[in-house]
Amino acid sequence: MWKDAYYGKVALILSVAAIFFYLIDHPSGVPNGGSWLGYTYGTVGFGLIGWLAWFGIRRRRYGGQGPLEGWMSAHVYLGIALIVVATLHTGFRFHWNVHTLAYVLMAIVIVSGIFGAYTFLRYPAMMTANRAGSTLKTMSAELAGLDQSCRDLALTFDDETAALVVAATQDFGGRFTFREIFLGRSVNLVEGATGGAIARLRDQVGGVGNAQPAEVLPLVQNLTKRATVVVKMRRDWRYRAQMLLWRAIHVPLTIALVLALTIHVFAVFYYR
């Protein structure tokens, strides 16, 4: 926590003050962005959006600019406060126009940002626990080793079983689905080629077929082990994807927001 959530307090004061003035204000007519208070909200919101967007540049300016951790903290808290300020700026009046478009874009950017903050809080520790001291590189090396030993062991079995085992060593659980990435449904390899190969091998233990049962147990163990490694690796990718993908919304929509906002400000002053 950066300096005991200093910017969280700043954001809270800003939001409370904004709501307080909104409640005591009695503008002539309906509340709107054109009143004295409305302009104030608009100016503050405009400044905030500019400053928040600047973070994308600041993040990659290195050297002699103080810790990024503070900026990150301020970015999150003030970004959330922006919802309050901007909503009050609208006076709760929405229409099908560029002004509301700017608001909607902003809302999506903020929500995606909140999701991002959530992933940053949640996944690093889960990722570390999942990796358990290993790295993706060592996991893939481990997987390659297990696959090789599975294929070697499969040579002692009949062709059909061997083919199933080889197919199982190429089973990585298929494409990533939305469900898996965002809802955390792990793939179940036992339902696919791996499961098929294991079931076939289990039959062999019963004495059916002509291979020695002695090879069955290590092969089943290795297939199971590689399945757990695959699941582990997919989980790692999933965490990483979650920490990355929200930015595919956050960043482009920020640019769209800045454009819409420019048009909004220009329109307001040009057509007033």
């Binding site: 050297g63 600019q65 940053f120 690093p124 595919a248 960043v251 482009p252």
Partner: protein, 810 residues
């Protein structure tokens, strides 16, 4: 009729050849005698294509013999051409069997009992003509060899390397990829070699690539077998080839028969020489490796210098101008010799040096004048040179609040020895007491002096021990009051992870950490729990010292090779009456240790069930050698979003080349120690830099000067943590700054590859490592660029606190 010459030069290496060429230039009657059938046998026998360095860089080359940095072949070609062109009188296959006489009447016996006479003789035979042989029966077999030209010439052989010095280790590693290699080591470990080589050989042994026989010596060499005497009896190593790398020593018998005296019986000792390289036999000059000068340039200059003097056309030594420049600020206009004489009279540790040694030391040292009150160095500075007072006084402010209690150090004494020994920050500020002249000798030179002159090491250790005890126990009293404590103290050395005192033992002594560091731990529910960390300069083991029959409450163990001053409990108890304040020191220390214990118990209580605890993290860090770090890069993987901003920031602030590798590096629990410089207390990288390109800034950063680095990679090999990379400094690419690639990168899409570096362009590799961003004026970029605070750079004292706060576990 015997031939007679003004001067006979023996040996055609850099020194002898330079002398012969100069003699030919000067028209001096001379002969150059070479044992083999080619010039310069030592360099001739270098591994093919070996790069030959020309350091010290700043030393000018004298005479007309060409020499600059290059490859073995080119250098030999240049020398052959130069020898031919000069018309020097060279006789190959002319080994001098016997030498006698002195100035005016030297007699040299050549093969076939031919006799040559000469007025003067220059002996430039080096050492490599006299390799140490394996002293056992059977060593004359043709497959027992003493050098390795080309490791690739041997494939699929069983090869035993005898000798575990640097040459033996390097040969073993070079051969191991294509052969079955064993290394025979008389010692239990490889401590004789450079740290880089030690790390490499230990790794190769662990991985089974090389087989090691420790505590073993050859007993006999049979057909295809080497018989070893080991600690467990005889053992047989089947071999196809034996390569013995036992070093080279002066051919003592030959030299002593010629009347040359040696200062000691040590086979590696070199003869004592005058300022003009003349030994105890008048008219006999010794230069180059045989005289202890191992660098080619030195030998070339020496050969030239001697002949010029003989020809009646003397020139100043090659380093004269450099020394003049160094002395200029303190002794304007004085001659070099006058200053050197002054130094010998005023600085005792320099008095025992020969003029030649003194010149070498002063090339690296500084003479400075101070006015009264000038600061020499500040408390907390990271300098580690030794200061000697030639004139005046210095005041050591061991307690800054009490300047009146400053320790006065007078003329002919030295100070700064604790920083020199421990490699840690200066413990006190020192100011000049009056107008003073002081000589600052850098750590490198001091180390060399200590190893070549025993008396200097003994004196340094003696004084350092007195002062370390004084500072720790009685800083407010004159040192004369604690002579009894000093007399009862002894210096103890510990290996890494060796126990200094164990839980449950009787409390029989007090310790002061001199170099290295240690951990304090206790057994708790059958598990070892680390409680505290002891840095150099701290007092420890004092708990219970005040009571009789007290037992140690904790185990104290060295984290790296360390030294501690041990003072027996009886000595301390005896002084307690006289010095009541000692009790205060111990009581305070006991209290803080109790706090420590409570603190860590609380930390443990706060942990989740089944979770790992701080002491495991501490143990991990200590095992990874963080104990010798002053500033280690640590990432808490419970917070790290793997965004890679730390690496990008590093690359962007350092010409596109990152000095941190986040993927590599050991991890435990959620602590990652990325491969990045730790700025060690006594940096391994600095021990062997031929051009002194690695320095420690007063603020602690260890950095490499890219302008003077010659890319020899000694530092990279010496670093046990692999943090130094040899790269072409121009090969880095800047972070893309155009908005499109920036945008693509921001959303996680692949960006177009940057323009590839042209590998054919002329380039030189240089050593590159973390410099803590000392030139950017801010904190290290890696830490500043971390958005979540996962990346930190800390000193060991801080990381222990950090771990106690519950970081590093998730």
């Amino acid at each position: 009729m015997t031939e007679h010459y003004k001067v006979a030069i023996i040996g055609s290496g850099p020194g002898g050849l330079s002398a012969a060429i100069t003699a030919a230039d000067q028209g001096l009657s001379h002969v150059l005698l070479e044992r083999t059938n080619h010039l310069s046998d030592t360099i001739f026998k270098y591994q093919k294509g070996k790069k030959v360095m020309a350091h010290p860089m700043r030393l000018p080359l004298q005479g007309s013999m060409p020499f600059e940095e290059g490859f073995r072949e080119g250098i030999l070609d240049n020398w052959n051409v130069a020898a031919e062109k000069s018309g020097a009188n060279i006789r190959l296959n002319a080994e001098v069997k016997k030498m006698s006489g002195e100035r005016g009447s030297f007699q040299l016996t050549l093969p076939g009992n031919e006799i040559i006479t000469a007025d003067e003789v220059i002996l430039a035979i080096g050492l490599q003509g006299n390799l140490r042989k394996v002293p056992v029966p059977g060593a004359d077999r043709e497959w027992v060899q003493y050098q390795l030209d080309d490791p690739d010439a041997y494939q699929n052989e069983r090869i035993a390397i005898i000798g575990a010095g640097d040459a033996g280790i390097e040969n073993a590693i070079a051969l191991a990829s294509h052969n079955e290699v064993s290394i025979i080591n008389r010692q239990p470990d490889f401590s004789r070699a450079k740290p880089g080589n030690v790390a490499a050989i230990e790794k190769a042994i662990r991985s089974g690539q090389i087989r090691a026989y420790a505590n073993s010596a050859p007993a006999r060499i049979d057909d295809k077998a080497l018989i070893l005497d080991t600690a467990e009896g005889q053992s047989i190593v089947p071999v196809d080839r034996i390569i013995a790398r036992l070093g080279a020593i002066p051919p003592r018998k030959f030299l002593e028969e010629a009347g040359i005296k040696f200062p000691s019986d040590d086979p590696a000792a070199v003869p004592e020489l005058s300022e003009t390289y003349e030994c105890n036999v008048p008219g006999l000059y010794i230069i180059g490796a045989l005289a202890g000068f191992t660098l080619i340039k030195q030998a070339v200059n020496q050969g030239h210098e001697i002949i010029r003097r003989m020809a009646g056309d003397p020139i100043a030594p090659a380093d004269e101008d450099l020394l003049q420049q160094r002395f200029e600020s303190a002794f304007q206009g004085a001659s070099v010799n006058a200053v050197l004489t002054y130094l010998r009279e005023h600085v005792p540790i320099l008095a025992g040096l020969t003029m030649l040694q003194l010149r070498e030391v002063m090339l690296e040292s500084t003479i400075a004048r101070f006015r009264a009150g000038d600061v020499v160095f500040k408390r907390g500075d990271y300098t580690n040179s030794l200061w000697n007072i030639a004139e005046g006084t210095a005041h050591v402010l061991i307690n800054e609040a009490r300047p009146d209690m400053a320790v006065r150090i007078g003329e002919a004494e030295f100070f700064g020895e604790i920083g020199l020994i421990s490699g840690r920050r200066r413990g006190a500020t020192v100011v000049a007491g009056e107008a003073s002249v002081m000589v600052e000798v850098p750590r490198r030179s001091m180390r060399r002096l200590q190893s070549s002159i025993k008396a200097i090491k003994v004196e340094l250790d003696r004084v350092a021990m007195r002062r370390i005890i004084h500072t720790a126990l009685a800083r407010d009293r004159p040192i004369s009051e604690i002579e009894d404590i000093i007399a009862g103290a002894e210096l103890k050395r510990y290996k890494a992870f060796e126990t200094i005192c164990a839980e449950g033992e009787l409390v029989d002594a007090l310790y002061i950490m001199r170099t290295g560091s240690a951990t304090v731990s206790r057994i708790d529910n059958g598990r070892e729990v680390a409680l505290n960390f002891i840095a150099a300069g701290s007092l420890f083991g004092e708990r219970g010292l005040l009571e009789d029959e007290a037992k140690r409450a904790a185990t104290i163990r060295a984290t790296v090779a360390s030294e501690a001053v041990r003072i027996d409990a009886s000595v301390i108890r005896g002084s307690m009456e006289r010095m009541p304040e000692l009790r205060g020191i111990f009581e305070k220390a006991v209290q803080s240790q109790l706090d420590q214990t409570v603190h860590s118990a609380l930390a443990r209580a706060g942990q989740r069930v089944g979770g790992t605890d701080g002491s495991a993290v501490t143990a991990f860090l200590v095992n990874q050698g963080v104990g010798e770090a002053t500033n280690a890069f640590i990432i808490d993987e419970g917070l790290c979003t793997r965004c890679g901003n730390c690496e990008s920031a590093c690359a962007s602030t350092h010409d596109g080349i990152s000095r941190v590798n986040r993927d590599a590096g050991p991890r435990a629990m959620s602590v990652l120690l990325p491969v990045a410089c730790r700025h060690c207390e006594n940096p391994h990288c600095m021990t062997d830099c031929p051009v002194d390109a690695i320095t420690r800034a007063p603020t602690g950063e260890v950095f490499i000067n890219q302008n003077t680095c010659i890319g020899c990679s000694n530092c990279a090999n010496n670093c046990p943590y692999g943090v130094i990379n040899m790269v072409d400094p121009t090969s880095g690419h800047k972070e893309h700054q155009n908005w499109l690639t920036w945008l693509l990168d921001s959303v996680g899409l692949p960006t177009p590859a940057p323009k590839p570096h042209d590998h054919n362009a002329p380039h030189a590799t240089k050593a590159v490592k973390c410099d803590l961003c000392k030139d950017t004026g801010g904190s290290p970029a890696c830490v500043a660029a971390c958005p979540t605070g996962a990346a930190i750079r800390v000193a060991p004292e801080t990381y222990m606190a950090w771990v106690r706060d519950g970081r590093g576990r998730s």
